[in-house]
Symmetry: C2
Subunit: 120 residues, 2 copies
DNA sequence: CTGCATGCTCACCCCAGGGTAACCACCCAC
DNA sequence: GTGGGTGGTTACCCTGGGGTGAGCATGCAG
């Protein structure tokens, strides 16, 4: 069971966060989202270069899932060499917007304790 | 490397989302956050009952990490039987607030494609 | 003495998600 | 014919996060 198995949340709330968490649950998904937000209409290789450390396999599978989730749009041009362009859908843009407060929280937070712990 | 290994994000943005994602990265953390938001000052056992499916081990370790991250506050009363109360810190409350747009996105989203796919 | 209730810890196992690397089909430049 | 660049796929391996179940310290009710 990879989903959060809650037909009704703790006390009846639909909550919705778990839905969102599933969609952005991959290791690189928020970064892909962010990259596509900053650089609309990128090709596979460009995205790969924008995300140092990601492997082709993982990038491909993440993009595929995000496409299935309707947050990225994929356009394949029938050329040689092949060209594919990825962009955010409207829903993806809204997701990105919804992530901004979280990003702000992350940036503002008062010197997280566990970061020190990890560094040490 | 469990962190997202980005001294500077894709193109120089600090981004901050990855920080937040680390903090809420556990399977049950957002639900704990939510539960503590709806029911402030809950005991371990109560929390457990609020999150059907979570095991003691995982709940304990998640609470521990969240405490280390400064988003939950733990108060242990020297009684018998032991009593421990968990609550959100100010930072935790802010995190919860920051999650609301995400929750809204999750609730509003137009019939996610992969949900159907999973059901089928 | 037994059981129950609390809030954990410990030892163990399992599997999915992610990493590694090779390969494919296509065409062009050399 | 060899190499490069495109956007992938396939096979395999490996780690760690989470699940399972037991145990522990304590005191009270029965």
């Amino acid at each position: 069971m990879t989903t959060l198995n809650r037909p009704g949340a703790p006390d009846g709330h639909a909550c919705g966060i778990d839905t969102a968490m599933e969609v952005i649950g991959g290791k690189w998904k928020v970064l892909i989202l962010w990259a596509l937000h900053e650089h609309p209409y990128r090709r596979f290789g460009e995205l790969r270069r924008l995300l140092p450390g990601v492997t082709e396999k993982v990038l491909a599978s993440h993009l595929r899932e995000m496409e299935a989730d309707g947050i990225v749009h994929r356009v394949s041009y029938d050329e040689v060499p092949p060209r594919v362009e990825y962009s955010l859908t409207e829903d993806g843009k809204r997701l990105n917007d919804a992530l901004q407060p979280l990003a702000a929280w992350g940036r503002e937070r008062p010197t997280a304790r566990r970061l020190a712990e990890r560094a040490g």
